[in-house]
């Protein structure tokens, strides 16, 4: 038996919360989640029933922040990362858009990543499963913040205090671009800027002292490919200086070599260093607590926002 398509719509079903502006609708369609980056409200809603780890990805323009996150998405498309499998994502559309410039379909001659625009704080989301996780699922929220915002925060305590999400960071990734490290004229400035950013985040009281800080030597293929022992010893000295300055001020300070999209250098595969980072995020957290990603001024009067305020703010300090 066949019947023609069903007729005009009944009352529209309430759509799920969408992260960004919903597409224009006609009466016979129902909006679905946009798949775009999450704003603070959507990210807070995510916390409703699940354990979330917030990974703050910090660094100047061009350090590889977005590339680092999108490479995780790309790696999962080829298989599990270590023991961890992809479970879901509320921002698949956003990931795919960000990956476009690294795909053949873009017809570029070299891979690139769409730059994060200066403006509102946004989040990218990946849920993973793994053998050691409670209920085998864990939500990872990554900040997607422009390099300009971190440059402002580096230079101004008051600007830094605008980065409300820092207070909730489980892992703070401080990205240092090795393409600049191999340039003798720039390398001291690069390390100095990175230290100033971390200092500003701590001195402003925004980054909790319990936070795990990972200094990431991004684009490490530039150092590995240069085959110059001097670069490696520069990194060792910089590591010592970081330890001296900040080792006692944060929950843990560690250093990792990362090459998300390495050039053809021996021993550096696509996503070099990321499996170890993911393992760390999945298994190590400075605390168990609920999330409060909404700055006070963004707490609105809508019932859903009041609900979030009641249920998440009150618990946010039970660390």
């Amino acid at each position: 038996m066949t019947t023609p398509p069903q007729g005009p719509p009944s009352a529209p079903v309430t759509p799920q919360p969408s992260a960004a502006a919903s597409p224009a609708t006609t009466p016979d369609v129902i909006d679905l989640p946009s798949g775009n980056e999450l704003d603070a409200l959507a990210a807070a809603e995510l916390q409703g029933a699940q354990l979330v780890r917030l990974i703050v990805v910090a660094g100047p323009v061009g350090a590889g922040k977005t590339t680092l996150i999108t490479t995780l998405h790309d790696l999962f498309q080829t298989g599990k990362i270590g023991d961890h499998a992809f479970a879901s994502s509320r921002t698949l559309f956003a990931f795919e858009r960000r990956c476009h410039l690294s795909r053949i379909a873009s017809e570029r001659s070299a891979a690139d990543t769409e730059r994060t625009k200066f403006g509102e704080v946004r989040y990218l989301h990946i849920q993973i499963s793994g053998p050691e996780l409670r209920d085998h699922l864990l939500d990872l929220l990554f900040t997607d913040v422009s390099g300009e915002s971190f440059e402002l925060a580096r230079d101004s305590i008051s600007e830094c205090q605008r980065l409300h999400f820092l207070k909730m960071a489980d892992h703070f990734l401080l990205l240092i671009d090795c393409e600049k490290i191999i340039d003798r004229k720039k390398r001291n400035q690069v390390i100095h800027d990175a230290m100033m950013l971390l200092r500003s985040c701590l001195d402003s009281g925004m980054l909790p002292a319990s936070c795990f800080v990972d200094v990431l030597w991004t684009k490490y293929d530039f150092v590995a490919g240069a085959r110059n022992g001097e670069h490696a010893s520069f990194l060792e000295k910089a590591t010592e200086e970081f330890q001296k300055q900040f080792g006692s001020r944060v929950g843990r300070l560690s250093f990792r070599k990362v090459a998300a999209r390495p050039a053809d250098v021996d021993g550096l595969e696509f996503g070099y260093g990321l499996p170890e980072l993911l393992q760390e995020w999945a298994t190590e957290s400075p605390r168990n607590r609920t999330m409060d990603l909404l700055p006070d001024e963004q707490l609105g009067s809508r019932e859903s926002e009041k609900f979030l305020q009641r249920h998440f703010n009150s618990e946010s300090d039970s660390k």
């Binding site: 079903v13 879901s88 994502s89 017809e107 570029r108 001659s109």
Partner: protein, 286 residues
């Protein structure tokens, strides 16, 4: 009195993944006794014109036209389970692949799909192994040399020499994960949702000697991980199905030399009769 049950299932799939061919082969199979099959047609009910048209084409080894968005409809079959003697009414929406692509691109359901989904016990997700998009990264390919003269004209490029992002070009496995997330995200969703994954045109992969499950985990690891991680949401089984039985251009002599039902091939965990497409349906209704 014979027990009677009704089951609604959604058929999910991007364009040209074999949904209509599956329906055509199924409608033919349940009416004929050429091969053993568990579910048989009990009686005609209502308008069968569409099913008759597509199954006639299928029986004659002719290409079954793909469903267009304007030709979408719901099809029903009143079947008898020869094992339990129950009468089963199966209902499927025959939706176009473009409708599902539109869910990914335009981010909406039609209300009719939403209403149908609300009442569905499970679904069949169709994947073509001959026509799917992989996440091809620039470093893993020989760059523009391969694109060569097939590249788009310069006036379609943005200021930095790139073709703008087109969401329809996103990897198939990502699109399919999103379609399943849309289902799982509805407020009426009741897990576990039974999901039969059909790798269509399975005859074309005979030489590769892989199981359907292995094909899925090798070729669509993102989708495979999603399903494995969400077994509490989706109770799934993977089938390799050939509704046509071969290539209508190359294998027509061989295909017309056998009974039409013998052309049907199904492979997967628990399949006992490799021609019985209804085993997939009985798994969904178990």
């Amino acid at each position: 009195m014979t027990e009677s049950v009704s089951n609604q299932f959604v058929m999910i799939g991007l364009p040209a993944t074999g949904k209509t061919s599956f329906l055509a082969a199924l409608w033919y199979l349940v009416q004929h006794g050429e091969v053993e099959h568990r579910l048989t047609l009990e009686r005609m009910d209502g308008d069968s014109k569409h099913l008759n048209q597509i199954s006639n084409l299928w029986a004659g080894c002719e290409v079954v036209p793909r469903t267009s968005t304007s030709g979408e409809r719901t099809v029903s079959m009143v079947l008898n389970d020869t094992s339990t003697k129950k009468t089963i009414t199966l209902t499927f929406p025959d939706l176009s692949g473009e409708s599902f692509m539109s869910q990914w691109v335009d981010r909406h359901f039609t209300t009719s799909y939403n209403e149908f989904l609300k009442e569905s016990f499970g679904g069949v997700l169709f994947i073509s192994p001959l026509n799917y998009q992989k996440p091809a990264r620039i470093p893993s390919a020989s760059l523009l040399k391969e694109i060569g003269e097939t590249g788009k004209p310069n006036d379609e490029r943005d200021g930095e020499g790139s073709i703008p992002w087109d969401p329809t070009q996103a990897p198939t496995q990502v699109q399919l994960v999103e379609l399943l997330q849309f289902i799982a995200g509805r407020e009426y969703f009741k897990p576990p949702f039974r999901l039969a994954l059909v790798i269509s045109a399975w005859d074309q992969l005979k030489g590769e000697k892989v199981s359907p499950q292995k094909w899925l985990s090798d070729e669509m690891p993102f989708l495979s991980q999603f399903l494995e991680s969400n077994r509490r949401l989706f109770d799934f089984n993977v089938y390799g199905v050939s509704a046509q039985g071969g290539d209508y251009n190359k294998d027509v002599d061989e295909l017309t030399g056998m009974s039409a039902s013998e052309r049907i091939l199904i492979e997967g965990d628990g399949v006992k009769n490799s021609h019985d497409l209804t085993e997939l349906l009985t798994w969904l209704m178990r």
